[in-house]
């Protein structure tokens, strides 16, 4: 707020426009405005979202990450289980561009391994005499592409006889970078399937409470309160501990997504309910009711489309908590278990203080989690602002 002190302004004289007054004249609408006024709600939302740059960039990052899980085999330099028994707990290797001050094709230096007999530590030193130029679009570990055909093409491979451990290796000498790329498959989809399940529950319960109100509403509200008063993680722990050990990894995976969704739906249900309560009073709902539409038609045809945008925004904001939940459960050993590879499973190797002190690169999967959760949060924030295009 600026100060308005100083000399008092001279009052304006009475002003009348000379232009002839024509009440039937309409305001000029430019073509651009015309387009804006007639565009659909979704388009308005997109226009608004575009202005939120961080959200748009986050969206691109997420699309790239989710796209990567389609071709993980191709992107990863090594296969998921390839063990380099000579390079256990090898530190991350950089790709170099300069050798002796001269530009060269991207290459890695050789790794020299020595067991320090005094403290029994594995010590790796780079051997600058050996250079291995990194190969692109090359033949490497053979993989079975989505069960369709066998292939061995990789985006990046180590030079002949060399190694390429961008993020180091784990206790069995497996390349961490490749394992993170493969782990994205599980970690990214857990949140997606979980949120679908939680959205279905949220719409059903929130819709029932919001549409019928009265006793149904109170019952659902109490149920939500009870579930919310449980600490989430211990409940997740208890439920996933109840998954039978005999289940196959795939079943466990779906069990975990189900459990994540089972606790998470309350927030969505609350959002749906409050939207329903507001929309129920609108004229178009009354009109539909008077024309004899059944409740299911009113809900599906008139109410749900009106808050889908809100729903998507809230769903985007609750995916991160599911990804974090899966990570925590797998870290504790209650969630997914090897041989299934998720970021949480990878992180469970970094459980001891030893790992932090000696092999800090084992915590890199945590960085991947942070990036994904951050981008989901940014995108969700942008979507939430854009969900109300008329505001």
């Amino acid at each position: 707020m600026s100060d308005h002190r100083g000399p008092a302004p001279t009052p304006l004289g009475h002003y009348v426009s000379d232009a002839p007054f024509d009440p039937s004249e309409t305001e000029e609408v430019t073509a651009e405005q015309e387009r804006l006024y007639t565009s659909s709600g979704w388009r308005l939302m997109w226009l608004k979202l575009k202005r939120h740059r961080l959200a748009v960039y986050s969206g691109y990052v997420l699309i790239a990450l989710y796209g990567s899980i389609l071709i993980s085999e191709f992107l990863a330099p090594y296969s998921l289980t390839h063990r380099h028994t000579d390079f256990i707990y090898a530190p991350p290797q950089g790709i170099h561009l300069f050798h002796d001050g001269k530009l060269a094709a991207p290459f890695t230096y050789g790794l020299k391994y020595r067991l320090n007999m005094e403290n029994l530590r594995r010590e790796y030193t780079t051997d600058e005499t050996k250079r291995y130029p990194v190969r692109f679009l090359c033949r490497g570990d053979v993989y079975d592409f989505w069960g369709l055909f066998e292939a061995s093409l990789h985006l990046l491979c180590p030079g002949e006889g060399g190694t390429l451990f961008l993020f180091g290796t784990d206790r069995l000498g497996r390349d961490l970078f490749s394992r993170i790329i493969y782990g994205a498959r599980i970690s990214l989809t857990v949140g997606l399937f979980g949120i679908i399940f939680s959205m279905v529950l949220g719409i059903i319960f929130g819709g029932l409470a919001g549409y019928y109100g009265g006793i149904v509403d109170s019952v659902v509200q109490r149920l939500i309160e009870v579930i919310r008063s449980f600490p989430e993680l211990p409940l997740w722990m208890a439920l996933s501990a109840a998954l039978p050990v005999t289940w196959s990894p795939i079943l466990i995976y779906f069990g975990i997504t189900l459990i994540l969704g089972l606790i998470d739906w309350t927030g969505l249900a609350r959002a749906v309910r409050s939207k329903f309560l507001a929309l129920r009073e609108e004229d178009f709902t009354a009109a539909a009711e008077l024309m004899g539409a059944r409740p299911s038609r009113i809900i599906a045809r008139h109410l749900v489309p009106n808050f889908t945008s809100h729903l998507i925004a809230s769903a985007t904001l609750s995916i991160p908590s599911m990804i974090l939940g899966e990570t925590a459960l797998s870290f504790l050993g209650l969630g997914l278990r090897p041989p299934v590879t998720s970021w949480g499973v990878l992180l469970s190797e970094a459980q001891s203080i030893n790992a932090v002190a000696l092999y800090p690169w084992l915590m890199i999967p945590g960085l991947a989690v942070v990036v994904v959760v951050l981008t989901f949060n940014f995108l969700g924030d942008g979507l939430r602002d854009a969900a109300d295009p008329y505001h």
Partner: protein
């Protein structure tokens, strides 16, 4: 106020009842019970099973009876102060748990204090300096705090605390004070170890609270009464403290209800990583070994904590805000 108090208290009873039913279902979910697992394990190792004791336990806790009766027995026991028997530890649950619930409460309390002390000034600064560099930096740090898995943060902080301050790794006190009577040194040692878990557990809650306080305060700052007060020449500090702040403060109290479950959640996993003697590691072990009464008791304790926390926060809110006192419920 008295009417509100009684009503609020009455709501807690059915809530706790439903919670107890849910917990019982959950601890019954794994196939088989602890005793049958134990028997098959012992027999596989060729050891003798104390049949008499098994029968006694089975009868005492009605493991051979239908589920509904088992639940009734469990509930009746809890109301009389008998929380069941820990099969793994071979002792009543209450003895196994001991101070751990108390320590959980202490940590939760310290964390809430930490959350408030940190979130309050930052939230106010962010709102009054909207879109400044400081605001952007703090918002980003807040986002980072939300996004980092807290067990990872716990590992890193524990390592740093050890390297730079020489704090012993794991636990809530120096090993030499374990099983010692309380003394000044023990208290100091606990305080030295407490800050890592408190920071780690509090991070995400703090970040949430900052964002909420900032948004609320920004809404309030645009209202007409603020303009009026400013036009009347009130100093900025006085203005801020006198009007918008009081309205924006509500979430601090109201959020305890949401904060507590989240706190206990992250406390559970952080305690496992830091091996704190709280309910977290105990619960994990109990769940893994199907020690159902121990797990059930711990889950019940955690839920009770949050229910009581919500009750207290509602009371505080009602005391502060007459609107809530008069309409008799929390407005959301």
């Amino acid at each position: 106020m008295f009417y509100f108090f009684v009503r609020r208290l009455a709501v807690m009873v059915p809530t706790l009842f439903v919670i107890s039913v849910l917990i019982f279902i959950i601890i019954q979910l794994p196939p088989g019970d602890y005793l049958s697992t134990l028997v098959s394990e012992l027999e596989a190792q060729g050891e003798n099973v104390d049949q008499e004791k098994l029968d006694f336990l089975r009868q005492q806790y009605g493991l051979d009876q239908p589920l509904l009766q088992q639940y009734a027995l469990w509930l009746k026991g809890m109301l009389q102060g008998d929380f069941g028997y820990s099969f793994e530890h071979n002792r009543p649950v209450v003895q196994v748990v001991g101070d751990q619930v108390l320590l959980s409460v202490i940590i939760a309390f310290a964390t809430i204090l930490f959350t408030w002390v940190v979130a309050f000034p930052i939230g106010v600064y962010s709102a009054t300096h909207q879109y400044s560099t400081g605001d952007h930096v703090l918002t980003f740090v807040g986002f980072l705090g939300l996004a980092t898995p807290n067990f990872l943060l716990a590992l890193i902080l524990m390592y740093l605390a050890n390297v730079y301050f020489g704090t012993s790794i794991g636990g809530l006190m120096d090993p030499k004070y374990l099983d010692q009577p309380w003394s000044w040194g023990k208290l100091v040692s606990i305080l030295e170890h407490l800050w890592v878990p408190v920071i780690v557990i509090g991070t995400s809650g703090t970040a949430t609270l900052i964002r909420r306080l900032r948004a609320n305060l920004l809404d309030e700052l645009q209202k007409a009464y603020v303009v009026t007060a400013r036009a009347k020449g009130l100093s900025e500090t006085r203005l801020l403290l006198k009007y918008p702040m009081r309205v924006a403060l509500n979430p601090f109290i109201a959020d305890i209800g949401n904060l507590l479950p989240a706190l206990l959640s992250s406390a559970a996993i952080v305690s496992v990583v830091l091996s704190l003697p709280t309910t977290g590691p105990l619960l994990l072990k109990a769940l893994q070994s199907q020690d159902m009464y121990l797990a059930g008791f711990l889950l019940m304790c955690l839920s009770l904590l949050t229910v009581i926390g919500m009750f207290l926060s509602d009371l505080a809110l009602a005391a502060l805000d007459p609107r809530i006192r008069l309409t008799g419920g929390r407005q959301k």
